[in-house]
Symmetry: C2
Subunit: 414 residues, 2 copies
């Protein structure tokens, strides 16, 4: 029965997505405000549900999962503020990206439009629901959310509040935002190419890998976050210390944390640099087997390299394509590094931890992508859009151009 | 052995792609001119090889395949001109798409860059090799080409000329453009996610479907081209005749040919319209089973619809998302149609046959995509690019911002 149900639900989401595509900014913004208000005035219901989830999870999950699961006043405030932030962002839909006269009275327009139906699969964090729902609404996409079982009661409480808030907004379509629960639904979701246009996994390495390996639907995200810092021959020791310690210790389990440190063989302060890392509680691993490891902990692989080229080659071989940084006082080397390293983020004299949609000023973040198509790096609202071409004429036919009766005179108008 | 070889070749293409990424416009343009000149001065070799292919194919392929396979002076001139056209296009790599100051001295830059390694699988047309090679060079992507066996000798002759032309260009990397031959290589190609970043199939429906179903690598293209024209209540009869006859008969086997005609029940000239289609040699099919058929022939499915909404719903259900057109004198209806129909091209009073990169003024075309991510509609050079973010600072760390010592002041510079 679950099978039938999921397909119906996906089909309805697709129908809703067509209606969402033509919604005015005004209705979308009303929907966002309605959700923000409803969450604020129903906080107690959410905390109650969350307490039950926490009681059930207490003895079964790790402390870090427990913390991600737990909602408090601060997180709730951030959740609500997150919706207001999206409310304040410009409508990404209906933007004219190109307007070109192909011939007199024959006007081509490229306009941004939504992708369609998003499938979101996430782990313990219940705050993902409101964040992704807000981004989906603003970008006119329908969304089907599948959360972790640990937060099932919290998720349900939040979703009920969101649904009833949306029901109050005149003109907002039914079935635009829905939730599914079972493991079977994940399988179903990954198979519904006909109805689901993009899958966004939000969770650990294994979840993302599993999803990428089991669907033909485009997946936006990243599995590994194996980030590198290269300390060049001319690196400033103090900058190197600051940056590497920040990149490794400021939040060791983040995907933009550095995992491998490459040091130029002629860097004069190697010993001092490594000593200061150890003093900051960083364990160093010099084993050549370690270059593919994402520690998510205060451990750092270290390798000496012969040259800038050697460093670039190592990174292009072992990196997950997330974010890399060069520490150097040599501007030319920095330029070569930025141009030759094939990762979503390539930095100079900066911590890798800056790879983040909020820090980039995107206002909100869908996630970070290591894809080489569509969207790469931190993805904001724009990553949830695509475009269509409209062509307006007055009885224009191709035969006239093929037979030479008419000629194109492409002129950009916008 | 073929297995081992393909992986080596793909690995080498990946290495070449990293070098291509940093090539100057000058070297890329020299490479393009070198190829154009070499093809021009070695035409006779290509015609010889082509003659052998044609002799072998004569009794084994359909007339249309035979025609696509056959190279003559005209096609050769177009091939060479195609390379010159790409030479004249702006370099799509290294464009600054965004530059933003995150804080004093902390500058984020979003720059266009190549995707990496393209895998091209194409059928009989040998002119695809030079076209795709030119687009790959200009966009700094490496490419592995797999052509049809019918054109093996022609393809080999063209590829040898391209290779030797590239060898003469100082600074142009080895292994950037390679060709494979066997059916096993297609299988291998579809499995090499590590080395190949994007697959572009150029060929029939079945080829594209097979590829989409057998790879985890992103595929850019379209399988079906089920395009619709909706003749609205207020359509002008003469425009309707012109447009539909052009869209159905100007080149019936093209993907942007109309397959289904929807007619508003209150359109007063239905009989006259259908008569004129029949007079133009179009066979009409009124069967409700016909709505998913791509005829590639002078046959047209016809359906009466109740309303504009009914037409939009039919299209969003049965279309392959390629191109649709509304014929109407009602501007408001045209706007609703353009906004609500979810296809790559949505036209008003224009033939669907305009869906084409050259007609859109892209200068060259990789193909037409019905994808909902990355690139949609006719795809030019831009569709072969992605972007990376560079961040330049002076020892900046995230801890300062998390601890409130510093604040972001996002300011767009470009």
């Amino acid at each position: 029965m679950a099978e039938y149900n999921f397909i119906e639900l996906a089909k309805n989401a697709k129908i809703a997505s067509k209606k969402l595509a033509t919604l005015s900014t005004d209705i979308k913004n009303k929907a966002l405000l309605s959700i923000a208000e409803a969450l604020d005035s129903n906080k107690s219901k959410i905390f109650e549900a969350n307490k039950k989830d926490l009681d059930l999870a207490k003895d079964n999950v790790s402390p870090s999962v427990y913390n991600r699961l737990k909602l408090d006043e601060n997180k709730m405030r951030d959740m609500i503020q997150g919706i207001i932030d999206v409310y304040e962002l410009e409508n990404p839909i209906g933007k004219v990206l190109l307007q070109r006269s192909l011939d007199t009275g024959l006007i081509l327009t490229k306009t941004s439009c939504p992708i369609g139906v998003l499938g979101i699969i996430f782990e313990a964090r219940p705050d993902v629901i409101s964040q992704i729902s807000a981004l989906a609404i603003k970008s006119s996409n329908a969304v089907i959310l599948k959360g972790g079982k640990e937060s099932a009661l919290t998720n349900t409480a939040i979703m009920e509040i969101i649904q009833s808030a949306l029901n109050k907004v005149e003109g907002f379509p039914q079935n635009a935002i829905t939730q599914v629960f079972s493991r079977d639904d994940v399988k179903e979701m990954l198979e519904q190419e006909k109805y689901i246009d993009l899958i966004i996994p939000r969770g650990g390495n294994n979840l993302v890998k599993f999803i990428k390996e089991n669907t033909k639907i485009p997946v936006l995200g990243h599995a590994d976050g194996i980030c590198h810092i290269f300390t060049d021959e001319s690196a400033d020791l103090e900058k190197a210390k600051r940056i590497i310690i920040d990149a490794k210790t400021q939040y060791p389990s983040a995907c933009n944390t550095v995992e491998t440190l490459l040091i130029h063989k002629n860097f004069a302060h190697k010993t001092e640099l490594l000593e200061s890392l150890k003093e900051s509680g960083v364990e160093l691993n010099f084993s050549p087997d370690s270059w593919h490891i994402e520690y998510s902990d205060k451990i750092l692989s270290v390798k000496e390299v012969e040259s800038l080229e050697d460093a670039i080659e190592h990174i292009n071989e072992f990196s997950s394509g997330h974010t890399e940084s060069i520490i150097t006082e040599n501007r030319e080397n920095a330029q070569i590094f930025i141009s030759a390293v094939d990762s979503a983020g390539v930095y100079h004299n900066v911590s890798t931890r800056f790879a983040d949609g909020f820090r980039y000023g995107f206002g909100a973040e869908v996630g970070i992508s290591t894809n080489k198509t569509h969207a790469r790096g931190p993805v904001g609202l724009e990553g949830l859009t695509i475009y269509k071409y409209s062509l307006q004429g007055n009885g224009d036919i191709v035969a006239d151009y093929v037979e030479g009766k008419k000629k194109f005179n492409h002129k950009d108008l916008v």
